[in-house]
């Protein structure tokens, strides 16, 4: 989701387009849950109270984000989520019914203090914001192909040589527009057609299928500069193959 696209969705959501709002929420869901967890310094699931505070904050960010501002939307979301959570922690502290964390009360002070301190020094650079955007977009796309980040380790090549070969495979795949079309349409890798066309071994493709899918998606989105840089290193030494 590009910046312009995001702005478009935000504006239409403000006008009462619930679908656009849903789309935004769905897209940024991984970011929200991760941010909430990051601020709370523990793993948060959707059944936790903090995650709903994060969602409400995100919802308010859609309504209140200044589209023309220098700050990115993600940055704004982070700020709002963090503030709401801190407010929530303070309320909890006053009530002193339920502790902020499972930890002792003493640590609670430290926690809140740390949050305020970090808020003051809070300066996320634009580069990281872009990276987060890229990751969120990749995550959404991978979700369509039924690929999860945590699965990719299994499908990752162990040797540099194999990795170079896989990058080559992805590059070859992207060359064929018909294959790419099928790939995006059916949301799966057209292995048999690809093998027929380029003569790669079916076993290799199957073994690294999900990793190849990721590589193809990265190749199809050259605008993800930072993510692409991670896989560009082996492709440079491609000539050695």
């Amino acid at each position: 989701m590009q910046k312009a696209e995001t702005t478009e969705y935000i504006l239409s959501a403000r006008d009462g387009d619930e679908i656009a709002r849903e789309k935004l929420i769905l897209h940024y869901k991984p970011y929200i849950i991760n941010t909430v967890g990051h601020i709370c310094k523990r793993y948060i699931t959707w059944s936790d109270e903090e995650s709903s505070i994060g969602l409400i904050a995100f919802n308010r960010a859609i309504d209140t984000y200044a589209v023309d501002a220098d700050k990115t939307f993600l940055n704004y979301v982070y700020l709002l989520v963090k503030r709401d959570l801190i407010d929530h922690f303070r309320r909890e502290k006053k009530k002193s019914d339920v502790p902020l964390e499972v930890k002792a009360n003493d640590e609670q002070y430290v926690n809140v203090y740390e949050i305020e301190k970090s808020m003051d020094s809070y300066k996320q650079n634009v580069q990281q914001q872009e990276l987060i955007t890229e990751i969120l977009e990749l995550s959404e796309l991978l979700n369509d192909f039924n690929v999860k980040f945590e699965e990719l380790e299994k499908f990752s090549p162990k040797h540099r040589k194999t990795q170079r070969k896989l990058v080559k495979i992805a590059e070859d795949f992207v060359q064929s527009s018909t294959l790419v079309e099928t790939f995006l349409k059916k949301k799966r890798l057209p292995v048999s057609d690809f093998v027929k066309e380029y003569g790669y071994r079916l076993k290799t493709i199957e073994k690294y299928r999900k990793y190849i899918v990721t590589l193809i998606l990265l190749k199809l989105h050259p605008e993800w500069q930072q993510l692409s840089s991670y896989i560009s290193v082996p492709s440079e030494s491609e000539g050695k193959l």
Binding site: P30, H38, T45, L131, E150, S156, Y230, V233
Partner: protein, 390 residues
Amino acid sequence: MKSNTHQGIVVKVTDTKISLLCQDGNFKNIPRSGSEMPQIGEHYTYVEKNIIPMKGTKSLALVAVLFLMIAGYFMRSFMIEENSYLFALDINPSIEIYTNEDLQVTKVDFLNEEGHVIADSLENSKQDINVILEEVVASAVNKNYLSKSEKGMINLTVVSLIDSNHLNTKELQETLDRSLKDNSISADVIVDNGSKQLVEESREENLSINKMQLYKDLKDKGLGADELREKSIASIKKEYNHKTNDQKDIDKNEEKEEEKQQVKKAREDAREKVKEKREEEKELEKEKRDAVKEAREEKRELEKEELEAAKEARKEKKELEKEKREEAKELEEEAREAAKDKHEEGEESGEKAKEAAKEEREKQRELDKEAHEDDEDKEDNDNDEDEYED
């Protein structure tokens, strides 16, 4: 200790792990500790410890163990294959046949020229020991080492090279007997078990094992190693059998003489024993007599002592009586003197004095009587003692 570092950006954080997109383009899941909660897009460094070296050592150990097992197996099989038993055969040709544990022949060695001829004549030497023995006998007959005219001799010594167990020689004996019969040859067959030590000794003396055995047996009878090397076992045995027969006769005579001497000795011993017994009896009688004499002497001495004691007692009594009489006389004299004095003083006092004198006399008489009675008693006792003396 090696360590593996993973550097990359966080793409997802789950309950137990953090998914990283590493700088080499790979994805890596790393374990997440409770307090860690990195944000998506954050740079993250993870140091993995001690995984690769462990894998290395494990596989290395496995390879080493496998190598040892294989090497051990081959070593064992190699050792079994080579020379489990040694069959040393002497007809006149001397050959040594090595077999494995299953008595399959592995090698045939020859120790002399005749043996060389026999060993060459064997077509297939990788067979069962019994087959080879038959072939050797047949070959020996062919080459005239065993002839029908002369009685031959076959010596076979079996040595186990792997352990000290003895092989059953019965079958070997039967095989040799049978093959001799088939070739209608008469020969003495001697099958025996030998030790490794015997093999070593035979190597040192440069003799065949059977000859070494013979050498050991006949060494005391003047058999030289050089003589043994030149002649065949059969000829030496014949030669020394005669010698041994003569030797046997001599031995028998010696034995008879020894027996006679033993009989003589036994008789002498018996006589000496009888003498000793008699002497002992005499000594016992002497002792008895001496004891009786001593007893009598002791008795006499005792009697003498008693007599002396009695005499002394009499002397003492007599002395006592004398003293008493003297005392009585003195008293009477005193009394008379006293009476004379009283007569002079007055009648009354004279009467008193008479009465006192009378009383004193009466006392004196009583004393005398008592003394007499004592004397009589003593005399009686003395009489008794005299009677005893008689």
